[in-house]
Structure formats: structure tokens, C-alpha cells
Symmetry: C2
Subunit: 284 residues, 2 copies
């Protein structure tokens, strides 16, 4: 089962990610329809050729017409949607998503889902500091990682098709990963970094710091412009793993404070040499 | 007194910054000579036209020929250099630097310096994650801030000339600032950010994280590739201000940990809205 152009695709939720998916897929001649609660969003998507058809209501006909349904919603809204409308899916529908947490969320969703519909969870690791379809941009996929996090409930065919979607969208790398390992890693590489950026941006009340700021500070705080509704939900949903990562970060930070307080140049240099060597692995 | 082309400029120390100064000034037809302990560095600078003349030894003739001497050395080496060679300066020489700390360092230097030589401290807020003249690049000044931190020992004419140097080099903004305020602000916008990057890069031992990493993590750790000799010296030199900034950051980070642990969505959202609003001020 490949992700071919004969599939009818329905995207539910046309925010930054849903909109960028629609943009990429339509540009590559896939047939894309969409549901969004906002009429303006649907109009925008139609006018820009991101979708062939759109609706602000969840129409049974539209849902059952789809072979693949991609959810670009906040986690709790995604869950509510499935509870309310899953009877509309035709048997054999493949659903996937962009949700930034997996683990228990996926277990709950798969337990609740109809047996004849398959949910392959995925997490596109890309974004912007702005939201909404007017900021949709299918270049955000280039250079980024697409994580597919199947469970024992998933079939090889559906996993393959979901991986294929990642390649079609233009991701740099498609990686398969266990749902719990996903939450652990995301807690570190994504959520912890957002926590740090928010903290750095709010821990000093001085005015006019922007006049004296170099690129380092800008780099570390770029993601402090954050969608507070989405991220507060993601932080709570991944609370256990995130708090563990925050604790490890804080303890290492305290170690560095001690090295500075005791003027332990040698200790600092060892830590810096380690960070330098380790960071080199991350160069693109 | 302006920074005109009739001045003879001597750069002492041709690392990334000294080399970039030489490159910019020679390109703009200033007469630049340089001293570096490395013969290879001098050869490289001569071959690339960054300097008109160079020496690996501190020659009295070269030093007394200069109207302006720019020091691109680590703080303690700069201090030793002045102690050893300041008798070589001709009366009226203007000296300036690139040192990343000011405060007591500047007070000590100015107290020790001959009365007929003037030191106007400056701090170019730019850099790269690599060092050495082979990485010199005068584009690093564009978009960056040039901080001039005069004291009551400085004359308006010398301050003016030092500010002019910042403009000639191509900085985006030239700002004047008190030496203690400088250390406070640098402790926050520069040193604290480097502490965070080093910590983030060394607090998790997992292998192959680079496969799953998005741009956020890369942005926050870019500066974790760090010159350990220089930065450990700068951290110790600005210990009091830096430790205060680290404490404020850590306390705010602990506040966020508590918000997450107690699932205080409202508290998180307020913090995120504040970070978003505050970060917008820093957009270039």
C-alpha cells in the first residue's frame, strides 16, 4: 500500500501544520479536502489552491469519501473528534496526525478507535513561531525529521503508507520510533528547549535589552514566541518525561554554577570540551 | 578626533576577532600592522592582505609607530602585555580592545596604565563557534552591536574615536555603557546563554539524538561549541554578576517545573504569553 495519488485525502484542522500539509500535497497533485471550523480558513485554502474542497461542518459524506484522514488538531480536540465522529469513517480508512505527544495518548486513542479503522501516529518535527493557515509553508518540511511511532496495533502496510507520506511531504528523514521512547526524546530535544527559552525570556525584567543583544540570545529565545494553548497542553500531557528532563538539566546547571563559584577552571573546561565535541555531531 | 585613514593602526592578537578587524580595516584602506605570537598567522594575514606588516615579536619600533592599538587577546594576556610593554607606546596613543568583561578589569587596567596613554574599553558583540585567523570574516560585524564602555578617565575625543571605529568596522549599532552595567547585561545576554547551551548539551547522555533533533535544539546549542580557554576565564572574571543571573534563571525555571508538576495550565499560559510578548521586541 503506497501513498498514491488515487487516494482521497482529508485534512482535519488547517492550522500551520495542516495548512502546510494541504499546500504540499495539492502542489504535488494529490486530491485534498479539508475541514476547519473557520470559514475564513477554508476560503483562504480554496483561494490558494491548497484544497479542492472544504467545509466548516463535519459532513459524513466528506469523511466517508476519504481514504486517508490527517488530523492537525490539538490533542484533546483530536480525541473529542474521534469520540464524536468516528462512525463516519468508511471501513479501512487510515488516519494519522501531527500530535507532539504519543505514549498514553496513542494507547487511549487506539483503544477507543473502531477495529476497522487504523491510526498510525506520526510527529512532523517542524514548525514556526507563528500559527494559522496564512503562515502555511511547505518548505518547513525540508531538512526536518518525520517521526512515525507505530504500535503493535498497526499493520506493516499502514506503517509503510504513513512513512511514504513523510517522504511525499518532503521531509529530510523518516524515522520509526516506539511511542514511549518518542515522549522521552521529545521531552528532551523539543519540550525542554521550549521550557528553557520561555524561562530565559521571562527571568530578567530589564528594559531595552534588545539593544545590547547578540545573536546567541536571539537564537536561544526564538522559540519563546510560543502558542501557549498548544504547548501548555503538550507539557501536561508529557509531564512525567518532561519533568525528568528538566530535573537533569537543572542538576547539570547547578554543577556549572558550583564550578564557577569555586573558580574551577579545569572543571569548566572539561564540561565545555564535552559540549563542543557533542554539539559537533549535530551539525547538519 | 576622528578615526581617519591617516592613523597608524596596530592590532595585537590576530585571532578570530583581531583577524576580522584587520580584514575590515585593510579592505577600507586603513594602514594596519599586527603582532601575533604565531608566524603562520602573520603569514596568513600578509598573504590575504589583512595587514601591511606583521611581527611575531613585540618590537618597540612597531608599537611606538602606532596611533591606535587594538588588543584582541584573552583578558589576562592583555593585562600581562600592558605590564610588560607599555613603555613602548608613544605619548597620546589610543588603545582599545575586544574584551568581553569590563568592570574591575577595566579599573585595574586604567589604574596601571601610563597617564599619557588612553584606554577606551570596547566590546564587539559578535563571534563565531570557531576561532583563528583562518575563520576571520568581517561580515560578523553587520547586524551586531558594538559596546563602548568609557570611564571617567576617558576624554570625549578618545571616546568619539572609539565609537567611530565601531562604525568603520560596519557594526549595526554603537552603544555607550557604564562598565558595571556592561558586566551585568553581558552576564545575562551572553554568558548565561552560553552556560545554558553547555548545560543542555551535556545533561543527557543518550546516543544518536541528532537523528531526532529539530531546529529548536540546534538553535539552543549552537554556542555549545565554545572556546573553553577563553570562556572559562570570562566566566570567572564576571563571577558575581553571572552567578546572580544564573540564580534568577534557575529560580524561574523551578517556577515553571512547579507549574508543570501541578498542571497549572493557566500559570503556564501567562508565562508563555509574557515570553511571547517580550521576545517580539527582539526581532531584528
Amino acid at each position: 500500500m503506497n501513498f498514491n495519488r488515487d487516494k482521497n485525502i482529508l485534512i482535519v484542522g488547517l492550522g500551520l501544520l495542516g495548512g502546510s500539509y494541504a499546500m504540499a500535497l495539492s502542489r504535488k497533485d494529490y486530491h485534498v479536502e479539508a475541514i476547519s471550523k473557520s470559514a475564513e480558513t477554508i476560503d483562504y485554502a480554496l483561494q490558494h489552491g491548497y484544497i479542492a474542497k472544504g467545509s466548516t461542518a463535519v459532513e459524513k459524506e466528506m469523511v466517508e469519501h476519504a481514504d486517508v484522514v490527517i488530523f492537525g488538531l490539538y490533542p484533546h480536540i483530536f480525541k473529542e473528534w474521534i469520540e464524536t465522529y468516528q462512525s463516519y469513517f468508511k471501513p479501512g480508512t487510515l488516519i494519522t496526525d501531527v500530535t507532539g505527544i504519543k505514549g498514553d495518548f496513542v494507547r487511549d486513542m487506539q483503544a477507543m478507535l473502531r477495529e476497522d479503522v487504523e491510526y498510525v501516529p506520526a510527529h512532523p518535527m517542524c514548525g514556526k513561531e507563528v500559527s494559522g493557515i496564512e503562515n502555511a509553508d511547505d518548505k518547513i518540511f525540508n531538512g526536518a525529521n518525520y517521526l512515525v511511532t507505530p504500535t503493535e496495533k498497526n499493520t506493516p502496510e499502514a506503517i509503510e503508507m504513513c512513512r511514504d507520506l513523510g517522504w511525499v511531504l518532503g521531509f529530510y528523514r523518516v524515522v520509526e520510533m516506539d511511542i514511549d521512547k518518542h515522549d522521552d526524546i521529545i521531552g528532551f530535544v523539543s519540550q525542554l528547549t521550549h521550557c528553557i527559552a520561555i524561562t530565559l525570556m521571562t527571568c530578567n525584567e530589564k528594559e531595552h535589552l534588545e539593544k545590547y543583544t547578540g545573536d546567541s540570545f536571539r537564537d536561544l529565545t526564538r522559540i519563546a514566541k510560543i502558542n501557549d494553548v498548544m504547548w501548555s497542553e503538550l507539557f501536561v500531557a508529557n509531564k512525567v518525561a518532561l519533568l525528568e528532563q528538566m530535573k537533569e538539566f537543572r542538576e547539570q546547571f547547578e554543577r556549572l554554577e558550583l564550578l564557577i563559584a569555586t573558580e574551577d577552571i579545569e572543571g569548566m573546561r572539561i564540561m565545555m570540551q564535552r559540549s563542543t565535541a557533542r554539539r559537533k555531531l549535530f551539525d547538519k
